[in-house]
Amino acid sequence: MKTIDQTQQEIVEEFSMFSDWMDKYEYIIDMGKNLEQLPDDFKKDEFLIPGCQSRVWLVPEFRDDKVFFKTDSDAIITKGIACLIVRIFNGRTKEEISKSKLFFIEKIGLVQNLSPTRANGLASMVDKIYRYVK
């Protein structure tokens, strides 16, 4: 299995194939569309990420020391971004996550290009993951 940093680097490379922002977003949108829907029972307030204009749920689950996430959102772009985050953190141990630093967001330029409301949402999604593994 790749490390967190390797997965991040992989994502950065995937995005570097697109020169145009519309193409980058098309890629995010496709990821969002392909993500399995979260069953309604999981769409509870306790799994809701604060600070987003759209609703985003992030459901953690611990299996054999490792944490797995399910996610969903009513906005497709948010869902696509959540997918990326989940892809990086899924199947990691608490130690791996708490020691990690996220660099892919900046590297693919998501932060300066996302609306601040979404950037805030992104920050609180990441924040929530770090808090789960504390």
Partner: protein
């Protein structure tokens, strides 16, 4: 039609900005308008040549600054045709104006008194009354909207009773664009001796308002939506009402005499202008009003009306669109919509990448969103510097975005 449209666009330097290397298409003036050169220059000029605290100094600069500030008061008085200039109170904006009335006029209310608002109010005309409820047991009654996005006037009449002490409604909905029949609303209230507050945040730069003809009791609006600086706004109130109301905030400028035992308050308008006010903002407001007057409110409304009709006609042709706009003629160029199956935020994010600035979300009208059964809408608003070509580009881009986002 506004003559020399190109010239009007040239007045707003920000419209030449590029975002993501694409020309900016600014369709969010209902949130805050852009500023013309004359306003920007007036503020710069003030700081370069006249800046000093007002009402405080005997020296030249302070007196000059005071004169400019007071000239704005008179300009606003003329603009809305108030009887006296001391009925014009400078505030921070619409929000502060309503909070002032809710607090000070609210002081005159008793437990059990009722205030009528409407279902299409901005939070600025909801929350101040709820805060008042923490001090007084007043009752808030809400005029519902019809399925055609109008105020239900029959229901409004039924809400009025002996305990109604104020009607506080918006002139134009910042979400629906509906223009409410404020003369009728005022006449109905006055027939029952009830004063009326009108939130003119969305209308002051769009329709001529004559407070004496309307006989409105309070009128509030913000400078930043009418091409002036942010942080300045106006509360108009009838002299006798303002005189009856206690001061809102205490501090410098609003007093006659202060001792530790007792303080007496200044006369209107200073009574409601505690502390150092936003005088550079006030000065920008005068220039903004002159700018509007130079073009002419009639011409502006006519042109914005054409933009609105053009945009609505084009949007209606889009598949799966839900427009939250009345079928009647009483509306402005503020257009809210959703596309079935697509989140409003996704549309806003993608349009942004094409250089188009629209607003998404609840537009500070959450109760209205609840009524519409949505979490938000996309809102595009058009003012005098927008063009038909921008609408074409907007609709074309929207179509492209929808195709990308559609499942």
């Amino acid at each position: 039609m506004i003559d020399n449209l190109n010239k009007i666009r040239n007045d707003f330097p920000i419209l030449k900005t590029k975002v993501y290397d694409k020309p900016l298409v600014f369709l969010d003036s209902a949130a805050s308008s852009q500023k013309p050169d004359c306003v920007i220059n007036a503020v710069a000029d003030f700081y370069k040549r006249h800046n000093a605290n007002i009402h405080r100094g005997v020296y030249f600069l302070s007196q000059k600054a005071t004169a400019l500030y007071e000239e704005t008061r008179v300009k606003v008085q003329q603009f809305i045709n108030a009887k006296y200039s001391h009925e014009i109170i400078f505030t921070r904006g619409t929000t502060e104006g309503i909070n002032l009335v809710a607090s000070s006029f609210g002081d005159l209310l008793s437990d059990g008194d009722e205030v009528i608002i409407s279902e299409m109010e901005h939070h600025a005309n909801i929350v101040p009354w709820q805060l008042l409820q923490k001090r007084k047991k007043i009752v808030i009654k809400v005029i519902p909207i019809t399925s055609d996005f109008q105020l239900d006037i029959a229901a409004y009449k039924k809400l009025i009773n002996q305990r109604t002490k104020l009607v506080s409604v918006t002139h134009i909905s910042n979400t629906l664009g509906t223009i409410n029949p404020i003369q009728l609303i005022i006449d109905i209230a006055h027939a029952n001796n009830i004063p009326v507050l009108i939130d003119a945040a969305q209308s002051i730069h769009h329709k001529a308002i004559d407070v004496q003809k309307l006989d409105v009791d309070f009128l509030v609006f913000s400078g930043h939506k009418m091409y002036a600086e942010t942080g300045i706004g106006i509360l108009y109130g009838k002299e006798d009402l303002l005189n009856k109301m206690p001061p809102y905030q205490g501090g410098g400028d609003m007093i006659k005499d202060v001792t530790f035992e007792q303080t007496t308050f200044a006369e209107l308008p200073q009574k409601f202008e505690a502390g150092t006010t936003n005088y550079s903002g006030a000065i920008s407001l005068k220039v903004a009003i002159e700018y509007i007057e130079k073009i002419g409110l009639d011409k502006i409304a006519c042109y914005e009306g054409k933009l609105q009709d053009y945009a609505i006609a084009k949007l209606r042709k889009m598949p799966d669109i839900q427009l939250y706009t009345t079928s009647k003629f009483n509306k402005t160029s503020v257009i809210s919509f959703n596309i079935k199956g697509i989140h409003h935020e996704d549309i806003g994010t993608m349009l942004d990448k094409m250089g188009i600035a629209v607003r998404t979300g609840g537009h500070c009208t959450y109760p209205l969103m609840k009524k519409l059964g949505v979490t938000g809408t996309v809102r595009a608003s058009f003012v005098l510097y927008n063009t038909f070509a921008e609408i074409d580009f907007f609709v074309k881009s929207l179509q492209r975005v929808v195709n990308m986002l559609k499942n």
